[in-house]
């Protein structure tokens, strides 16, 4: 455990936040079912659990956004008083960085700070905001390319996430004392994620506290001093990090996830691959039944290459009954789900042309198709007519997988589809993809996570918008991918 070095006048080990038997019930749903936890200065609490375990609810209770239906939340204010509620949470210096990006795309980076910092008013507020965000960005992500005057909507996803994290740690009228990071690294590449992790360590060493939520267990082990495991709205294990092992954590979460893709035997599958069915001018190629990975640091042209390929094979006028390419979105909110549609409608969307009968949708056929895929990939809902947003992130992603796979398209393009998806769902998805590939489908899979890239038969590593390496078989490993992503980087910049 780290020694707190004192923040404010309070006793160093008095907890900043104390939850006592907090409960949140939405009707019959018990999102939080009696959680007690404390966070003291200097602590970094790793909070893990699969999607729907209640982490987000816990976060909203801790930051004051949600009033628990039972139990208590107390904050220790800087002047030693005790408080509760949203205003006191803010006065206590509790900041949250949410999983779904919560910036306003029409504002500039410095203007975004105005939304979170209430004291930014009056003449000269822009200068103050600019100073704060620039300082925080430089501190956490040295070498970043973000100007405070840039519009958020024009930043890449990774840059937006960096801005949000920096805003969470930035100076304000009340300095940040507890920063809650919900999946902060989901769209960051490894190098930037590392910068964040080391900043968390320094922040905690100076007496700050952090709640770190991530599906990447390696990161949690790197930064957390204590790990709490959540399941079904409760904390089922809470121990110092040193007493956990990765396998122990996964077991505790209740998912039996294989350590590594044991089922895949590299090389053996290769003989079954068919003829080349895809070749792009920039050098991407895929054969029938092959899983092709696009790797490299985030923002080096992978998503662009996928989009270019996809656009070149689709988007023609007129209805296509047999699409050549299907697409699985990673940024669900932006190019995945139809937020006000039901799960059923979302699932059958791309399949509608073949479900059409004399210009009308064949309702029964639609239901059969949806029911079939629901059981095939295990979408956890009792009614496919529920709104898509009633599902957890992982299950929404399953719907998107089903939407793409239900089509007859021989090629499936996947744009970092496992972003923010829990370990168990990931394993199911890997299995699904392997089965489909064995059935003759080809996959183009962009991923920011090395573990996923290692599932592929062939990997193209991107650097600065071009393919810098093509790896196959046993050559697909973390070292080779990293080498190809970083090579020349020192010389170039």
């Amino acid at each position: 455990m780290q020694q707190a070095t004192g923040a404010g006048v309070s006793a160093p080990d008095a907890p900043l936040v104390a939850l006592t038997d907090a409960r949140v019930h939405f009707g019959a749903v018990r999102a939080l079912d009696g959680v007690s936890l404390t966070i003291s200065p200097g602590e970094c609490l790793g909070l893990i659990g699969h999607n729907g375990a209640g982490k987000s609810t816990a976060v909203n209770v801790i930051n004051g956004g949600l009033t628990p239906t039972g139990g208590q939340v107390r904050y220790l204010l800087a002047d030693g008083r005790d408080g509760s509620g949203l205003a006191d949470a803010q006065a206590c210096g509790i900041r949250s960085v949410f999983q779904e990006l919560s910036l306003c795309p029409n504002l500039t980076v410095l203007e975004s700070l105005r939304v979170i910092h209430r004291d930014l008013t009056g003449i000269g507020w822009r200068k103050v905001a600019q100073g704060r965000i620039a300082k925080a960005l430089a501190e956490i992500f040295p070498g970043h390319q973000i100007e405070p005057g840039m519009t958020v909507g024009e930043l890449t996803l990774a840059e937006r996430q960096m801005v949000e994290i920096a805003a969470g740690f930035s100076d304000g009228r009340m300095p940040a004392r507890l920063v809650i990071l919900d999946e902060p690294t989901s769209s960051l590449d490894a190098a930037i994620a590392r910068q964040l992790l080391s900043h968390i360590n320094t922040f905690c060493a100076k007496g700050g506290a952090v709640i770190f939520i991530s599906h990447m267990l390696g990161e949690v082990f790197d930064v957390a001093t204590r790990i709490d495991v959540m399941k079904d709205g409760r904390i089922i294990a809470s121990k110092p990090t040193s007493e956990f092992t990765q396998q122990g954590l996964i077991d505790a979460m209740g998912h039996v996830a294989a350590e590594k893709s044991a089922a895949r035997a590299p090389g053996s599958a290769k003989t079954e691959l068919g003829e080349e069915i895809l070749k792009t001018p920039e050098g991407l190629s895929a054969r029938k039944g092959e899983i092709v990975g696009l790797a490299g640091l985030a923002g080096h042209g992978q998503a662009e290459a996928l989009a270019r390929f996809y656009m070149s094979r689709s988007g023609k006028l007129g209805q296509v009954k047999q699409p050549e390419v299907a697409f699985v979105a990673g940024d669900r909110g932006r190019d995945g789900v139809m937020p006000i549609w039901s799960i059923l409608r979302n699932l059958t969307l791309t399949h509608l042309p073949s479900l059409t009968n004399r210009g009308l949708v064949d309702r029964d056929g639609e239901r059969r198709l949806a029911a079939d895929w629901r059981s095939r990939i295990g979408i956890r809902t009792d009614n496919m007519d529920n709104l898509i947003l009633s599902l957890s992130g992982g299950n929404q992603q399953k719907v998107l997988f089903a939407r793409a796979l239900a089509s007859s398209a021989p090629i499936v393009v996947m744009d970092d589809p496992m972003r923010g998806v829990d370990v168990g769902t990931k394993q199911e998805a890997y299995q699904l993809i392997r089965n489909e590939a064995a059935g003759g489908r080809s996959f183009l899979w962009y991923s920011t996570e090395t573990e996923e890239v290692c599932q592929c038969d062939r990997v193209f590593v991107f650097r600065n918008g071009r393919i810098s390496a093509e790896l196959t078989g046993d050559n697909i490993n973390e070292e080779n991918i990293l080498a190809a992503s970083f090579e020349m980087q020192g010389v170039g910049t």
């Binding site: 956004g65 306003c104 939304v115 008013t121 769209s187």
Partner: protein, 314 residues
């Protein structure tokens, strides 16, 4: 980069139209000519700013035309006869706008329906006030609208002032930033502890305020009012905002662009008169100009956006 295109296109279309008008009618290139060209654009610009406030928070106001007509009727009657009562009525109208904003947010009503309904309310009130065209403009507004500043005509000065003030209010001030944030991501604003209902009420109140200014200015120019005097402002203001680089959703707006958009629309009318186009065809031709400009804008932004968004994940 996108932000720069956003303002470039309205400026170019205005310059193009202006050049065309000057070519057709060189005498318009004078103090008097410019004032005549842009005179009636001042109330349109104010109404466009009002519309922009609503579009800023992802709503749309279908009642702005009848609201301006109503204000014009109040100005030509109460504000002239009993100024105190007139001011009170106009303040109440602004409050009503604020109330509508809060109502729309709290009840989650579609703004398009509520404002469509309100357009009948304002229109009805206007007819009650002035069943037939008439009334008198208060002397002070009449003299304000006909003032002759040196070098640059009043209409141009007024438009620059409107653009400057609304730009400062919306784009630079901290409150304006917060209002735009509501359009960008209302959920994030709410999560940071702000009351979105209050912010929306504020945006609607600003719209009401600029709507009132529009009506008062209009009467200053026309000297009398009519219950149907500004009906076409509803569509003109929406078109002006869009022409000026604004968008229907996402809080993407530009006050300077909106004023320029309003000027362009006003100029389009004059341009067609100079072309000796029969008035029967003018509305259609105005629409054609609008479509043309928007098509150019689409070409500008489309390629840009498509690849940007595609690359965003990377």
């Amino acid at each position: 980069m996108n932000g720069k295109y956003r303002i470039l296109l309205p400026v170019l279309s205005l310059a193009f139209l202006l050049a065309a008008v000057f070519y057709l009618q060189p005498r318009a290139m004078s103090y008097f000519g410019l004032n005549l060209l842009f005179n009636l654009a001042v109330p349109i610009a104010l109404a466009t700013i009002a519309q922009m406030m609503i579009m800023m928070v992802n709503d749309i106001d279908l009642s702005i035309g009848t609201f301006v007509s109503f204000v014009a009727c109040v100005t030509a009657t109460f504000l002239h006869d009993t100024p105190v009562l007139g001011v009170a009525i106009l303040l109440a109208a602004i409050l009503a706008y604020a109330g509508l904003g809060a109502l729309i947010h709290i009840r989650q009503l579609p703004a398009i329906v509520v404002t469509l309904g309100m357009s009948f309310v304002w229109g009805g009130l206007a007819v009650l006030l002035l069943p037939s065209p008439g009334g008198t403009a208060p002397v002070w507004i009449r003299s304000l609208m006909t003032v002759k500043p040196p070098l640059v005509p009043m209409a141009v000065v007024a438009c620059v002032l409107i653009a400057g003030i609304s730009h400062f209010l919306i784009m630079r001030s901290s409150t304006g930033t917060l209002l735009r944030a509501v359009g960008g991501n209302a959920q994030a604003v709410a999560r940071s502890g702000w009351s979105v209902a209050k912010l929306k009420a504020g945006a609607y109140a600003l719209a009401g305020f600029f709507g009132v200014l529009s009506g008062v200015c209009l009467v200053g120019l026309t000297t009398s009012a009519d219950a149907n005097i500004a009906l076409r402002y509803t569509l003109l203001s929406i078109a002006g905002v869009i022409l000026g680089g604004g968008e229907f959703t996402g809080g993407k707006i530009s006050p300077v662009g909106a004023v320029i958009g309003a000027l362009t629309l006003a100029l389009a009318g004059s341009f067609l008169s100079f072309m000796r186009l029969s008035p029967d065809w003018q509305i259609g031709a105005q629409g054609a100009i609008l479509i043309l400009v928007l098509a150019v804008r689409l070409l500008f932004s489309r390629r840009n956006r498509k690849w940007k968004e595609a690359a965003q994940n990377g």
